[in-house]
Every structure is written in C-alpha cells, then in structure tokens.
Point group: C2
Chain length 335, copies 2
C-alpha cells in the first residue's frame, strides 16, 4: 500500500503538505500545489492508513458491542436488526462496530481488557438488567458508553430505550377499541426493569378505560414459550365469565405460548381470543393466525445511540441524555 511519502515524492512536495491538503487545512497550500497533490494521490492510489491516523489521534473509531449468546429455545429477534442498523449508523459518521463476546456471568474482564488496550472508543451496552454490572463498571471507569435500555433509576448514565409502557398502553387501547374488556397481561419477573415498564403501561391503560383488573390478570413468567402456556392454563381455570378474552404478552415468544395453548384448548385465536406480542419476531407474520405485535423502533434507536456515542467518545456533553422512543403496533390476525 502506498503511504503519504509516496504521494509526497510523486508530487514533489513534503509529506506535511500532502497532509495539509488531504485534511483541508486551508491557507497552508496554494491551489496549484493542491492539484499536484490530488493528482499524485490519484496516481499512486493512496488512501490514508487508519491505524496510523488512529495512533496519532489516540482513537480507534470503533464502538464496541457485546453480542450475547442466547440459549437455544430463547430468541432475541431484536438484536440482529440492532447489529445491522447500529453498524450502518456508525459507518455514516466514520466509525465501525467491533463485536465481541464474553463468558456467561463474567463480562467485566472483557470490558476491562478492551478499555485498557485501547481497543475501542466507546461501548454500546444492550440487554440491560437491574444492577447491571457492565453499566456500573463503565460508570466507575468513566469510560464512554451509551446504553440501549434502562437500568437502576438512581444511576446517572446516558441511555436510549423503547417506550414499552407507551407501547403496551397502545396495545391495550387497541384491544379495548375492538370491544375487549377482560384483558390480561403476562409479564416478566419483577426484577425485569423493562418488563415492569410494560406492565405499568397495561395497568395505566386499563385504569384510564375504567376496566377492572382481575387478580389473576397480571401474571409473570420467564421468557419462554412455556410461560405463555402456563398463563393460559391459569386463566382458563377461571369461571367462564371471568376469563380474559384478550392477552398482551411481554414478548413474542411468550405470545406464541399463549396462542399455542389457547388453540389447543379450543380457543379460536384472533376470533374469540386476542393475543398481542412484543418485538415483531421475523416469523410472527407466518404464524396462524399471524401475530399482532409491538415493533421496536430499532433504526431510530441506533441512529440516536450513535449520535450520543460520538459525543461520549469525545467527552462532550451528551444532550439529551435520555431518549425514549415509542414502538409501533403492527396489527395482524391474532389481535
């Protein structure tokens, strides 16, 4: 690969001049010189070496992102979209995405190593949880990062998140408009922050509509298909006139469990029993009936994250520091 020296030699100028021209330091060269240099660049086929640039500038132009392994049988339909849009948004400002992994339950050494070796300029942290150790660590280290997802409210760090509360409230309103009054929700365990936001959306929308929330209408379970099935069993053991006719599930996978169990117990999903999921998993539209769901605004989230990360990487003030974006209700056959 040709270097700046080759260009300088070819153009009969110094490397400083080449650098000036290429970095548009106007006032440091004449128009004639500029043309000479540009010609030379063209002729020798020069492109600045990014490693050298980065060393000089003490940066990497890399954002680190940890890809989480998801056990077979669980799914995170959002992360692959996220990767794509995040990488794309980063590229638009001259950054790239460095993807890494870490052993289960032992993320910190990996983050530490990446920081210490100067591998990346900033991190984006996704799939956050309560007391998230990665967030706490990065805050402690004062290393630039932005989170996709919230964590402890008392912690002050920049984040972008889907407004799950708003999304679920929209879903419930949609069900109400369709005539449902006995609407239930299955959420995640109480330790899940985003799960709790979504549940709040349910409660809020039900109250706003003056609809009663039967004791068993709020159920919780882990993120498995099985959790949806169990919830249905509970609901269908209620007296007939108390059984919910519509369910908002915390997640598409759980929604599928709800649909499966309901169908196997004789309910006609989408007709006398409505189900709404969350995430718009790729195959959802091919289920029978097709799955109504809340789609996260991944592209907008990524664009926002990258904007914030750029500021973070340069130790600039991040403004705004918190961004909440509403999901979109995709109405299909199940509800």
């Amino acid at each position: 690969m040709p270097t700046i020296k080759d260009v300088a030699k070819y153009a009969n100028v110094s490397i400083a001049t080449v650098s000036h021209v290429l970095n548009n330091k106007t006032g440091y060269f004449s128009e004639k010189t500029r043309q000479q240099v540009l010609d030379a660049v063209e002729k020798v086929g020069y492109t600045p070496n990014i490693t050298a640039r980065n060393l000089k500038a003490s940066q990497t132009r890399l954002f680190g992102y940890a890809w989480h392994r998801i056990p077979r049988g669980m799914v995170n339909p959002v992360l692959d979209q996220f990767s794509y849009y995040f990488a794309q948004a980063a590229e638009a400002i001259g950054y790239h995405m460095l993807m890494f992994t870490y052993p289960p339950e032992d993320s910190l050494p990996v983050y530490d190593e990446l920081i210490r070796t100067g591998r990346v300029d900033a991190f984006v942290v996704a799939s956050t949880v309560a007391d998230d150790e990665r967030i706490r660590f990065l805050m402690d280290q004062e290393f630039p990062f932005v989170s996709f997802g919230r964590s402890n409210p008392e912690w002050d760090f920049p984040w972008v998140d889907t407004d799950g509360m708003r999304g679920v409230a929209d879903a419930v309103q949609h069900l109400i408009l369709r005539g449902h009054t006995r609407i239930a929700m299955i959420g995640w365990p109480e330790t899940s922050i985003s799960g709790n936001f979504r549940l709040q959306g349910y409660i809020q929308a039900m109250r706003a509509a003056g609809l009663p929330i039967h004791d068993s209408y709020i159920l919780r379970g882990e993120n498995f298909e099985y959790a949806g099935r169990e919830a249905v069993r509970t609901w269908l053991s209620l007296p007939r006139d108390e059984q919910p006719t519509a369910v908002v599930a915390i997640d598409d996978l759980v929604a599928i469990g709800v649909m499966n169990e309901a169908a196997e117990r004789g309910r006609r999903v989408g007709e006398d029993f409505a189900v709404i999921g969350f995430d718009d998993t790729p195959l959802g539209q091919y289920l029978r009936p097709s799955l109504t769901t809340l789609r996260q605004p991944i592209e907008a989230i990524c664009a926002t994250l990258v904007r914030m990360l750029e500021d973070a990487a340069h130790n600039r003030r991040i403004e705004p520091r918190h961004v909440l974006l509403p999901p979109e209700l995709v109405v299909r056959g199940s509800g």
Copy 2:
C-alpha cells in the same frame, strides 16, 4: 492510560527492556529485571496499546464481516448464531470481528475502502451466490479472505460450507425409514448454488432407495413462505395416489409455508404429511407441530473459518483449503 515509558521509568530500566520482558524475548533480560518490570507493570497498571502495536506490526487483528440486511418477511436464522460463534472463535486467537454493512448491490466500494485504509486483516464472506462479486473482487485484489459458502466451482478460493447435499440426503433417508415413498422437495431457483447441492442430495437419496421421482416432485421457488404454499397447491392438485406424503423444504421459512398450506387444506402435518426444513430457525420448535429440520454446524464452521483466516491473514498456505461439514437432523413433530 500508562504507556511503556511509565513502566520503564518506574522500573528504572529502558523501554526496550520492558518490551523484551513483556514479549518474552528470553535471553534479553535477567530474572531480577524481569521481576522489576512485572512489578512496575502491575503498579502503574499498564497494558500495551493495541493501536501502536498494530501500527508497528502492520496489522489490525480485525476480521471484517459484512452483515446483510434482510428484508422484512425474510429471515436468516443462521447469521446471528454465526456472528456470535465467529466473534468468539476470533477472540480465542486474539482477533476481533469488525462488522460492516454495504448498500444493496454495491458491496465492492466498501470492501475496497476497508482494504485501502488497512482497516482489517482479512474478510469472511458469507451468504455467497454464484458469480459472487465480492469473492471475485477479493481474489483479484489478492486480499486475504475465507468464504462461508461456495461459489463458482472454477474459482480457486478457500471456503467452508455446510454439506447440504449430505444433509438433505439424510433427511430423505429418515423419511424413507418412516415409511414414506412419495417424497417431494422444494428448492431454490437454479441460480442458487447451495440450493442445487441440497437438491442433489434429494435426488441421490431417492435414487439410492430406488424410489421414483415424479415430474412435479422437484419444485423451485424463492425464499419466501409463499413459495412453500404454492408448492403444496401444485402437489395437492395431483391425483390422490400421486400426491407426496412427505416434503423436504430448502429452508425453514419455505417449510413453514408448506406446513401452513397443507394444514389449511386439511392435511395433518406430522401425521399423514411430513415436512422437514433447513436451518433450525429459533421458533421452529414452537410451531404446531414443531418443525423437524437440518441444523447447520455453525460453531464448528466458525472455528474452522477462523483457523483458516489466521493463516490467510499471514499469507500462509491454507490447509485444507475447502471444508465441508454435515448438518444435523433435528427430529421433531413435523416429520
């Protein structure tokens, strides 16, 4: 961040000595010095800066991987697993994965830029097609890469691939063992290389078993759910005693189309009508019936790719140059 100079100062030695110790250039230092240096490293909290190392070594320790956007409604359930295992395998040898994107139908400028700026040491190319322009370009440029998937047979480049022929043959044999004789397959268009391999596996297994292949038993379509539905319509328009009782679909998405259409037309999938897919898409196990499918050996593929890439990045001979790994038949309810 502390540099090698800080360590040298603290240990009262030269930076060369520090470097020698850290890079284990035995014979270049005494045990006593070694301890001093190691202590100093510990005390000042030093980790070598990777950008400086890379500049010196003219490398990046980065493998580039292009993440493909998949239109809504299509799925590539393999790529997210691929990302994870690939990143992990790369990390095991001190590399990282740089993920990038490119505009539809215009990949070459992006590859070119990454090469010219020295952004990565090698590429892994996935989702290959016939006459793949990326492969042709990288061969032309003589830039290190390894492909996950084959392309034109007359091209000489290193690749790793799933043995789709073998996988489909296994699936057909499995169906035969279950008593099926009228077995059909739906493939991809003739331009698809991996699609053709899979179809060959079907033909081979049918012939080996002495089973007739009815004219309409081999159908082709694009990778949509719709293609599976259409195929079923064709088959069910045959005289009853010619209709296939089992189908191997080129892909889970197509298999889902087959299942959906068959079910809607009164077939009891998994009982009087068997369906086998390809890829083990995450939700396949939660379909009713759950989807029997061929699971690609992604983890082994990634390990192999990384081994080959390491050689490629150092311009070493890659041996072996082509690796074919068999998929695993995951038997579930649909067949």
